[in-house]
Structure formats: C-alpha cells, structure tokens
Symmetry: C2
Subunit: 382 residues, 2 copies
C-alpha cells in the first residue's frame, strides 16, 4: 500500500465518520450508528472510496483493542458486585433468551450448528455505553432501574466475552462439542480471574515504578503496552484479543492512576475507534438486503431483529424487586452496539458466516441500537 | 502479517524504546538516542526480534507525521520574526557550511552528484527540540544566546524541509539540474506560504464549527485530519509528507485552540513517535561500521561526524551582536536529531543511498546528538 493511499484513506475515513457521527448525534442517536453508515457508504460495496487494505485492518484492530481497554477502564467491578443478585438474574436471562432464540431461528433457517451457535452468541451482547448515555441524557442514571441495567450490561460484557472466546475456540477446532466448549469456558474464566488477580496484586508496584520514570509519556505507553501484551497473551492461548484488552482495563481501573490513564487514552480512542466502526460498515454489502432481488436476506435480517428485541425484553421480566419498572430494564438491554459488531466481524473473518448473514447481523445491530434510545426516552417521558 | 505478530511487535518496540529511552534520560541524554539504540538492537541486523513489516512501517510513518505536526504546533512564527536578523544569519551560515562541506566530502569520497547533494542536505538539519531541552535544563532559555539559537533552529527546520523537498524532487526526476531545483524551491515556498496564509485565514472559522460539534473527540480528530490532509497534499505535489504536517502544526499554533490540541496530541505522539525512531534504528546494520572488517564505513562515519560538528560551530562565528557568546550558539546548533534521521531514512527508502552510507549518517546523527548536551552544559558551567 502506498503512503499516499494510506493518508488519503485516513482522511476519508475520519471525515466520513465524524460528519455522519455528528449527524446521528443531532438526531438524538449515538455517533456509532453514523460511523457504521459512513463505512457502508464509502466502502467497496457502494461508493468504493476506500479499499479494505491490510493496514486499515491493522489500524481497526488497534481501534477495537483500545475500545475494549477503555470500556474495561470505565467498568467498576465493585459497583457490579453491589448491583447484586437482581442484575445477575437480569443478565443471565438476557443472555440465555437471545442465545436460545437466535440458535433456534438460525437452525430453522437451515444453517449448520456452528453457524447457529454463532448467531445465538451475536444476539447475546448488550452495549452498556449506549444505554448509559441515554440514561444520563434523561437524568435517570441514579435510579434503581438504571443501576440494574448497568450492572446487568457490564456482566453481559464479561459473559459475552466468555461466550465469544468459546465460539472462537469452537471455530478453530471446527466442531461443536460439549467438552471443547467446557474447556474454553474454563480457560477464559481462568485467564480473566488470573489476569485480574495478578494484575490487582502487582499493578500498583509496577505503576509506582512507572511513576518514577523521567522520560516523557511513560504512563500512557506502559498502560497501552500492558493492554497490548494481555491482548497478545489472550490471542496466544486461543481467546479473542479484546478479552485481554478488557482485562487490562479492569485491572488498571482499580489503580490510583485510573483517571490519568483514562484522560490520556481518550484522544487515542477518539482517533482509532472510529476506524474500527467504519471498517465494520465497509464490509457490509447492502445489496444482500435489497428487497427486490434478495428477499431472503431482508427477511432474515427482519427476523433476527425481531428475535433480538423480544428476547432482551424478556430480560425485563426477570425483574423481581418491587419498585423497579420492567419496561425500562428490558428496553435498556436491547442495543447490541459494538460488542455485537465485534462478534459479527470475527465470524466473517473466520469464514463461519457468509456475506449475507454478516449484513443481516450488522443490520440487526444497527436497528436495535437505533430504536432503543428514543424508546427509552419515551418510557421515561410518560 | 498476522495479528499476533503485530501485537507482539508493538509490545517489543514500546518496551525496548521506553527502557532504553529511560536509561538515556538518566544519563542526562535525550530519550531519542535510547530509542534509536533500541531499534538497532532489536532490529534484523542484531537480535532480529522484530521484522520491519509494512504495517510497522505505516505506524512509523504516522509517527513521524504526528512528530512534525507537534513540532509545528510548538513553533511560534511571531517569535521567530522577533529573533530577527541575527538568527537568520546564524541559520543561513549553519545551513550553507554543512551543505557545502558535506557535498565536497561525499564527492571527494567518490559518490555521484545526487548522493553528494543528499549527504550535504542531511548535514544541514538542526534539532531544535534537543537544544531547547538542554537550555531549559541549565535555566538559560531566556538568554539572548538561547533566543538566537532557537530562532535559528526553527528557521533551520523550515529551510531544512525546503531543502528536503528539493532533494526529494531531484531524486524523483533522477537528475540534478538548476532548473529543477529552482522549480521545487518555488513550489515548496508557494505551498508553505499558501497553506499558512489560507490556514491562518480560515482555521478560526473551521475551528468555530468544530467547537459547536456535539460528538465526542471532534477537536482532536479534525486537527489530525487536517494534518494528514496537508501531508497528503504535500506528497501529491511532490514534496515530503512531513512538510504538510509541519505546516498544519504552524497554522493551528496560531489559533486559540492551540493548547487543547497540544494537550490531546501528546499521548498520541507518545505512542507513535517512538515507533518511528525505533524503526529508524532497525534499518541500521552496525556491521557496516565494524572497524575490523569494513574500515571504510567507519572512516566515512567519522569524517561525516567531524564535518557535521565543525560546520555547525562555524555558524557560531556568524554571531555579530555584542554580548552574545559564540561557542554556545555554535554548539547549540550541532545536534541533528530527528530531522537528520528523516533525511537519511528518505534517502534509503528512495534508493539514493545504500546501507553503509545510511549507517554512517545515522551514526553521525547519534554522535552529534550525544555530544551536544554535555558540551553545552559544560560551556554554561564555566
């Protein structure tokens, strides 16, 4: 790839991402939706402004690692524990229902078992970022329902990553067996618990050393180095890189330098995360959803979306505590956001799902992410 | 390139850069020297820990663009004008002497005219960053001599970039003619003046729009977008990308958002600039300077270094104002730093200079950068 192509590619990706993202924010939506649409538009399937090159792919990969690191940094393991049993029940129902319904739908549609598992897994994700943003917009972040949603969403992130690790492992072994799935589950849990235990034990000492360094920029470089190292280790033992990045964020969130790291990672994330979302959009071929020529693709996308919405609303029914409204909890769990996209992208990269299923899954993620904010706002306006 | 190789490569590059950089800072030197040595060490010529892949090259390219953007942001065109005639005379002598002496040395050594021009051009650079850091360390930043040095160094940066543009253009046309050189000189000056004039005219309006955007991270993304756009334009019209990045920095330095942009670009630079310096070191094959087998390479490196030192000391003789000491001015101009490395790297990439000349030039840059800080400190201690 020529230098000029790289520079022009970055200019187009950033400009399209920011303009479309800004447009979506003005419509009361999240910028992520705009970045995805921008990707579909400038990608090879529509305008063809930017080629999906190896270097752009690498920058997108850095972007998603930084994104999960940042989500980890913003997660509070203690708060999660405080949210307690009610959140756990909601999270578990909100994972089980979409997985089972998605699996059944895909299997009924004639997909092989492995693909059906993948579809079910993609439906389990919850985007904590989008819901948290809306709740904060309507000024209800401190309510009991909000705490249940956020606790369940963070738990969903962790469980979702474990499911992702299991699915990735199943893809690599090529078969779906209970023993393999159990092995990967144990490996993921062991990795997360060991990394977090070792990290929380030794991170303060290491950060103390870093604090005594005189060279400029030591904190941010060592923090990202730690994140990339855990990502590489996770990849080495057969898990997804983002699990390592998320664990690194959770660990550093427990240190006293958290605020400094968050502040310094922000501009880096601002630059690289949109590249990830734009490339996710670029891989979508919207013609597979054309209602006039390929009715099957569109029908599948609609069915997936319906299942995605209904199955997360069911999580709201798992609210048993008095004084917590069920509808906001259910609706708050609907947006799939970035986690769902990471699932779909991994499936495409590993050859598990083909282009039309990928497009249907991305469409499902976009619709769920699109409808949740106005729906949630409407519920609170009543 | 596999994802794992990219992640592990980044871990090794960052760890080596930070450890060696920290060591150099402790020795009273600049971290850049450590990053270069780290690159030589982990590169293919010595330990071979990291392969010089296309993606690492692209990240290094982003690093050097960000570096020149940051240098531009920190430069003050007004202060440069205030430093006035004395700085200009020092800068011009400090460019002419190294260029002529370097050219004569390379031609006498039997190099073709184009290579000799390149060697002369590489010797003209002055690293404002390193000298400014030392002057600030010894608390003399406000002295008349310091102002002359810094004014001359910034002017050297601009003149050096124009020389670089001319040399790059000559390499592309393949011949050295007065007409070509004059054309590129006019083109570079026109680009810089036009970009800066248009930029200073319209940047406040554009930044006003950016300031009204609601999406997260708009300022940093639009600032870097502007930098990459000017870099791509510079490359398109046959100049070096870093000229565009430098111009973008100069323009945004004149706006009221300068401090915000500087603050947010810092962590990005902290992460990407070391990748550039490490890859510069990785391309050095130290065996070409082995005194037992290749005496010619070492002798050339020593001669280049001697010429580099003597010719910049001559710039000190251009001090005509009373009350300004000549030695600190001359010594302060010696370190070639990043700009010299960019020259050498471009020469290697374009095939103008071969591996042993590249190694000799990098050695020259390292020695000049190494000796200037203690020498300058010693001069002020007397």
């Amino acid at each position: 790839m020529e230098l000029r192509e790289l520079l022009l590619g970055l200019v187009i990706v950033w400009l399209a991402a920011k303009l479309a993202g800004e447009g979506m924010e003005r419509l009361g939506q999240t910028a992520v939706l705009g970045e995805l649409l921008a990707g579909v538009l400038i990608g090879p399937a529509v305008l063809g402004f930017v080629r999906d090159s190896e270097i752009l792919h690498a920058l997108a990969e850095i972007g998603v690692v930084i994104l999960l690191f940042e989500i980890g940094l913003e997660s509070d393991v203690d708060e999660l524990i405080r949210a307690g049993l009610q959140s756990t029940v909601v999270a578990l129902v909100g994972i089980a229902c979409p997985f089972i319904l998605g699996f059944v739908l895909a299997a009924w549609w004639g997909k092989p078992t492995l693909v059906a598992v993948f579809v079910g897994a993609t439906l389990t994700a919850t985007s904590v970022g989008i819901t948290a943003r809306v709740l904060s917009d309507v000024g209800r972040l401190q309510e009991a329902a909000a705490r249940v949603i956020l606790g369940a969403a963070v738990l969903d992130d962790i469980l979702g990553l474990i499911i992702l690790a299991m699915v990735t492992g199943l893809v690599q072994t090529g078969s779906v067996s209970f023993a393999t799935a159990a092995l990967i589950l144990v490996k993921s849990l062991a990795f997360l618990l060991l990394a977090i235990w070792l990290g929380i034990r030794f991170a303060p000492t290491l950060l103390g050393w870093v604090g005594r360094m005189r060279a400029r920029g030591s904190l941010i470089v060592y923090a990202v180095l730690f994140c990339v190292l855990l990502a590489a280790v996770a990849e080495r033992i057969g898990l997804a890189t983002i699990i390592g990045a998320f664990a690194a964020g959770l660990i550093l969130a427990k240190t006293e330098r958290r605020a400094h790291i968050e502040e310094q990672i922000k501009p880096v994330a601002d630059l690289f995360v949109p590249i990830f979302f734009v490339t996710v959009g670029m891989k979508v071929d919207p013609t597979t959803l054309n209602p006039f020529t390929r009715q099957a693709g569109l029908v599948l996308a609609l069915l997936l979306t319906a299942v995605a919405i209904v199955s997360k609303l069911a999580a709201g029914l798992a609210v048993y505590r008095r004084g917590i409204r069920r509808w906001p909890v259910g609706v708050g769990m609907i947006p799939r956001g970035e986690v769902g996209l990471i699932f779909a992208g991994l499936g495409l990269a590993n050859g598990v799902i083909e282009a039309n299923l990928y497009a249907a899954l991305v469409a499902m993620v976009m619709v769920t992410t699109f409808i949740a904010p106005p729906w949630l706002k409407a519920l609170y306006r009543v």
